[in-house]
């Protein structure tokens, strides 16, 4: 029995170690922000009528979440615990204003379509959730990966829901009609668009069905 204490060597972790890769891949399935953590449902219901705004929304959230996570992570040791929510809000608000102004300058039409929802990214639960749960306790690089991962997990579901809703609700994708005009009943065909998919409740049902399918494939997620 040696009395020597083993010196713990501080090995620097490689940038894409297994752990870090999991930060990116987990939110796609096992820890998806929408279907497993059930965060960010509000925007999933509100802006998934069409695919284009859903994509823009996803990119905006990606930017805000990744940047915000890095900023919060850098400041994590100097943020007083009592006012951390306010500090987090200031960081999100700043980033959201940047996104909003960029959208207005370069993609005015989409910005008009998204209207108030860009501003409402501030209240998107995923962002505050990740700040609180991850960025406050991890280093910037990990926080950055976590932000990217969660934003992509969010984006995948958002775009999936939007594809289903736009296709079944309007018969097209990205505003381009896919189902031929002659198929419609008014033109002598048999098909009709399903107007229910344009209402928010259907987004909830589509998200619910995605959760259902995901859980029946991924047994880990079923809690007793």
């Amino acid at each position: 029995m040696s009395t020597e204490t083993k010196k713990v060597a501080k090995v620097s972790e490689p940038l894409f170690s297994k752990k870090n890769r999991r930060l990116l891949s987990d939110p796609f399935n096992d820890n998806n922000p929408i279907t497993v953590q059930v965060l960010g449902i509000c925007s999933a219901l509100a802006i998934t009528v069409k695919v284009e705004p859903a994509i823009v929304m996803s990119l905006s959230v990606l930017f805000v979440l990744a940047m915000g996570n890095v900023v919060i992570s850098l400041m994590r040791n100097i943020i007083p615990n009592r006012i951390r929510i306010i500090v987090q809000l200031v960081v999100v608000a700043t980033l959201v204003i940047v996104v909003d102004q960029v959208l207005r300058a370069f993609a005015y039409d989409v910005s008009k379509q998204l209207s108030v929802f860009v501003g409402l990214i501030i209240t998107n639960c995923i962002i505050m959730g990740r700040f609180e749960a991850f960025a406050m306790a991890n280093k910037p690089w990990k926080a950055f990966l976590d932000g990217i991962g969660n934003a992509w997990g969010y984006a995948v579901i958002l775009i999936l829901v939007a594809v289903v809703r736009e296709f079944l609700g309007t018969g097209g994708l990205m505003g381009i009609p896919i189902i031929p005009e002659s198929w419609y009943i008014v033109n002598g065909g048999v098909y009709a668009n399903n107007g229910f998919f344009l209402f928010p409740p259907m987004a909830l049902i589509v998200v619910g069905v995605i959760i259902w399918i995901q859980r029946s494939k991924n047994r880990k997620l079923i809690e007793d």
Binding site: V190, N194, G195, F196, I205
Partner: protein, 403 residues
């Protein structure tokens, strides 16, 4: 019967667990239990069972639906030939016309619904649920007869999948599956399920076109047009005249059912015959029917007091006889699974179904079938009502015990 028994017995070996055709077991089992009372014995604690099992309960509901179904089939033909086209037609012509419209609807509904049920009985390993037996006949009775059949199929699949299987199948559903199907169709394909054109077939026949001035509007559709117009407006008055004793939608016509509407809903008389049967056999809850009737009636009187348009001014009893109120009251609100379970809860549940139904119908003429929405809403609220009734009972008893 012997033939059926022999057929079932001879195919039993094929479909059993190690048989060659065991994927057909759910279908075989469904046929077997439908034709014969199964020889199951109870396991677990309670051994007391009602004399009739669930499949036979469901068959009783179908018996109760027969008067409404037969009358509705005749009325579909009557509205088409005699009212819309102004032709002479016999009772048999009318009836066959309606049956011709109704049968495809029934077949499509059963095919679509049972397909989902059988799929789930494989996936989940449970027997095919009896519940769909009734839903499959209720859905055609509350759809417009000329709705494209695939829409009925899609609505049925949605109702069975999202309304029932998601929650664990028959007995677990929050919502009434038949109403879920109709609500889905209503929001998804409004053009084919609401408005003046869908309830009566007005296609010309033998060169006979639609009678001048005829509109296929339902009583509710007509009343909705009076909203927002003055009560002395001539158009409003002409609608009011239709509801007078000699008008098209007179209280007698509404009671006997000579008005346009979906196949099952028009005749209050036929529905009440079914109601009597359901109450007599103890399958439908009379508490829900009575309280829902009272709920609708009281909302009608409240509207009468504050009437600012003719829709609010309709006689409360007349108000209940038009649209889907009666049908909803007898066959939808009393669904034993989605309604409240406690006796006190049933009174509250039924009363609010009627109260809210008339309220939605009158306040928002865009949703003439407020009854449907009200019952679905109260389906969701039913567990909450039961919870408070049970809690209240516990509290009362505790108080008595501690006193």
């Amino acid at each position: 019967m012997k033939l059926v028994r022999n057929l079932l017995d001879s195919t039993k070996g094929l479909v059993e667990k190690d048989g060659k055709r065991n994927i057909f077991f759910p279908l075989w089992d469904a046929l077997n239990t439908m034709a014969f009372v199964p020889g199951h014995t109870t396991h677990g604690g309670a051994h007391v069972r009602d004399a009739i099992d669930m499949k036979r309960t469901m068959v009783m509901v179908i018996f109760a639906l027969i008067p409404a179904l037969l009358f509705g089939a005749w009325n579909a033909g009557y509205q088409h030939y005699e009212v819309a086209l102004g032709m002479e037609s016999t009772l048999m012509d009318n009836f066959l016309y309606g049956m011709g419209k109704l049968l495809p609807l029934i077949i499509v509904t059963y095919a679509a619904g049972l397909a989902v049920e059988i799929l789930f009985s494989w996936l989940r390993n449970h027997p095919v649920n009896e519940g769909f037996l009734v839903s499959g006949i209720l859905i055609p009775l509350i759809m417009p007869m000329d709705i494209p059949l695939w829409m009925v199929a899609v609505s049925t699949i949605f109702a069975v999948l999202i309304g029932k299987e998601v929650f664990g199948g028959t007995g677990m559903n929050l919502l009434n599956p038949a109403l879920t199907a109709r609500a889905f169709a209503f929001f998804a394909y409004p053009q084919w399920i609401s408005g003046d054109k869908v309830w009566v077939n007005t296609i010309a026949e033998n060169g006979q076109g639609v009678v001048d001035g005829y509109s296929g509007a339902t009583a509710l559709g007509q009343l909705a047009t009076t909203v927002g117009k003055g009560m002395n407006n001539p158009e409003t008055q002409s609608v009011v005249n239709m509801f007078a004793a000699d008008g098209q939608y007179s209280i007698a016509n509404s009671f006997f059912g000579f008005i346009p509407g979906s196949i099952g809903e028009t005749s209050a008389l036929a529905i009440l015959l079914g109601a009597a049967f359901l109450i007599y056999t103890g399958i439908g809850s009379w508490r829900i029917m009575v309280s829902m009737f009272l709920g609708g009636l009281s909302m009608g009187y409240i509207f009468n007091l504050f009437a600012v348009n003719e829709f609010m001014n309709v006689d409360p009893l007349h108000q209940l006889l038009i649209g889907g109120f009666m049908f909803g009251m007898v066959f939808m609100a009393t669904d034993p699974v989605s309604a409240a379970q406690t006796n006190k809860g049933k009174w509250i549940y039924g009363f609010l179904c009627g109260f809210l139904g008339i309220m939605i119908r009158v306040f928002n003429p865009a949703y003439p079938e407020g009854i449907m929405l009200a019952i679905l809403f109260m389906n969701v609220m039913a567990p909450l009502i039961d919870h408070y009734v049970v809690e209240g009972n516990i509290k009362k008893r505790l108080k008595r015990a501690n006193a």
